[in-house]
Amino acid sequence: MERPLTQYIHPGCPPFDFKEYEMTGGYSALQKALKSMTPQEVQKLVQDSGLKGRGGAGFNTGMKWSFVPMGEDAPHPKYLIANADEMEPGTFKDRLLLEGNPHQLIEGMILAAYAIQADVSYIFLRWAYKKAAQLLRKSIQEAYAAGVLGKNILGSGFSLEMHLHTGVGRYMCGEETALLNALEGKRATPRAKPPFPQISGLYGKPTIVNNVETLCCVPHIVNNGAEWFKGLSNSEDSGTKLYGVSGKVNNPGCWELPIGVTMRELIEEHALGMKNGYQLKGVLPGGASTDFLTTEHLDVKMDFASVAAAGSRLGTGTMVVMDDATCPVGFVHNLQHFFAQESCGWCTPCREGLPWVEKMLLSLEQGNGTNEELELLQLHTQLLGPGNTFCALAPGAMEPLQSALKYFKEDFEMHVALHKCPYGE
């Protein structure tokens, strides 16, 4: 089984420096693209490979790039941004790539920048990733020194600057238009679309924002081709995926696997099953803003279409397991507390609705909830749902709530009937 993204990552060992990375085939994709491919050919190759964004939305990456204005008349500078904000609760996959192989990300970024003819690139890194920051800074310096960044890269005539930007903590910085505002020194509130960032992004110039994992796939696609990338998976989607499992399992962790492995395989074979004395009750398949799946979904393939057909989203691919000793109401309250706190306050349903949802869940957990409030919670899943808010934060927050109300209805009702939490929390 091939693990292109993580083959050289050995947790506990320092990542490859420039020389080591180069010796194991690193930067050969960059040489190949700069010598023998036009930017449009790189775009086309990535589009044909079927690579879909690993940041949550799952949009075809090559297609996303193809909306950037190209040619002589295109506005400059154009920007390429790696989204390394990773703040979705339960998500810890980009950290592995950032700490484990920073040059892989840098090469992916240079290739993506070449494909859209960007002039400047940024890594938008969350504040908490101190080790990654240090490693990236060092690796960027090495890349400049080796001539793969800066002016006239490898004599190709293509030039690219790269900067590391560390955030100051706000989940919204991960939303791509809010990220642009944060980079411009503003509050991280989202922007209206259209215009899409591909046309008018950072400082009003064409901009592509891609997730770290997405960008790390690019060198391998350029080296090995679209068909190879498609062949890595065992589903309709292409490539491998970094999957994670956390919660009360025997071996929580993050693994690169063919995209489309089943939830059962992940939990039983890789996470080695539930800890002694605990049963699996529910799973958030792709981070805090994805709908619950339950034991009936264990054989669902973890690819974009299959998870969607099961009523949830692949999201970030890092799942949070809820065991039978954890109260679903308390669990969902924790999620809504996060979303209410991280709401940027730009639009009313989210700014006002999420704190209300959080308060109702808290009062329910404390035994003061009413049936009327259960209905109000249900209503909020629509009021804060898709189409009613300015960005995807609030609809994302409603996904675990609506599915909890569906799958764990009895637990909610018990809190009302007993006037206390049946789990003793």
């Binding site: 990773e86 703040m87 979705e88 609760p89 339960g90 998500t91 810890f92 980009d94 950290r95 969350r126 504040w127 908490a128 990733y129 101190k130 080790k131 900067h163 560390t166 955030g167 100051v168 903590g169 706000r170 989940y171 944060a182 980079l183 411009e184 020194g185 503003k186 509050r187 991280a188 400082y203 994670g244 499992v245 956390s246 919660g247 009360k248 929580p252 962790g253 993050c254 958030l284 805090a288 890092t318 949070v320 397991v321 809820m322 065991d323 954890t326 308390g330 669990f331 924790n334 999620l335 507390h337 996060f338 706190q341 991280e342 940027c344």
Partner: protein, 167 residues
């Protein structure tokens, strides 16, 4: 928050040379001065521990922004501190995987040891205790950070050993 005194806005000398040099370096990288405000806040916080009203005013004057604009940015971000903090900031992850793995027990033990709750600073100004969103190591929950150091798979037994490093 205290009232911002407009008379102070004209005193850019509130920034030290060191701070100004670093801010100049950031300003050179962006198309207009105000785009460097987050960096400026980070720099000033690095030297002073937190962002006071005077710091807001000084940054505003230096970047030719209004104090309100600077403050709107400063108050938006979780890790710009608009109140004094202790010498070390303890960030306890309170997000979902750490919730499942009982970060609450860790918080309770910290409360007892330090005699402070979230948002408070110990009397000797050594520690400030704050909740924080997912620290991105959910496979090693519960997790916490003190300054630049990440602690994973934290148990109550580990706390004394961890805390003594900073006292």
């Amino acid at each position: 928050m205290q009232q911002i005194h407009t008379k102070e806005i004209t005193k850019p000398e509130y920034l030290t040379d060191l701070e100004r040099n670093e801010i100049d370096h950031e300003v050179a990288l962006v198309p207009h001065k105000s785009a460097a405000v987050i960096e400026a806040l980070k720099i000033v916080q690095h030297y002073r521990g937190w962002i006071s009203d005077d710091s807001v005013n000084a940054i505003a004057a230096y970047l030719q922004m209004s104090a309100a604009e600077v403050d709107s940015v400063a108050t938006f971000y979780n890790l710009i501190f608009r109140k004094p903090v202790g010498r070390h900031v303890i960030l306890v992850c309170d997000s979902i995987s750490c919730y499942v793995m009982k970060y609450g027990d860790i918080y309770k033990a910290l409360q007892e040891k330090l005699k402070i709750r979230f948002g408070e600073t110990t009397g000797d100004q050594c520690f400030t205790l704050l909740p924080n969103c997912c620290l991105g190591c959910c496979d090693h929950a519960p997790a916490l950070m003190i300054d630049n150091d990440l602690y994973k798979d934290v148990t109550i037994d580990m706390l004394d050993r961890i805390l003594t490093k900073y006292t």
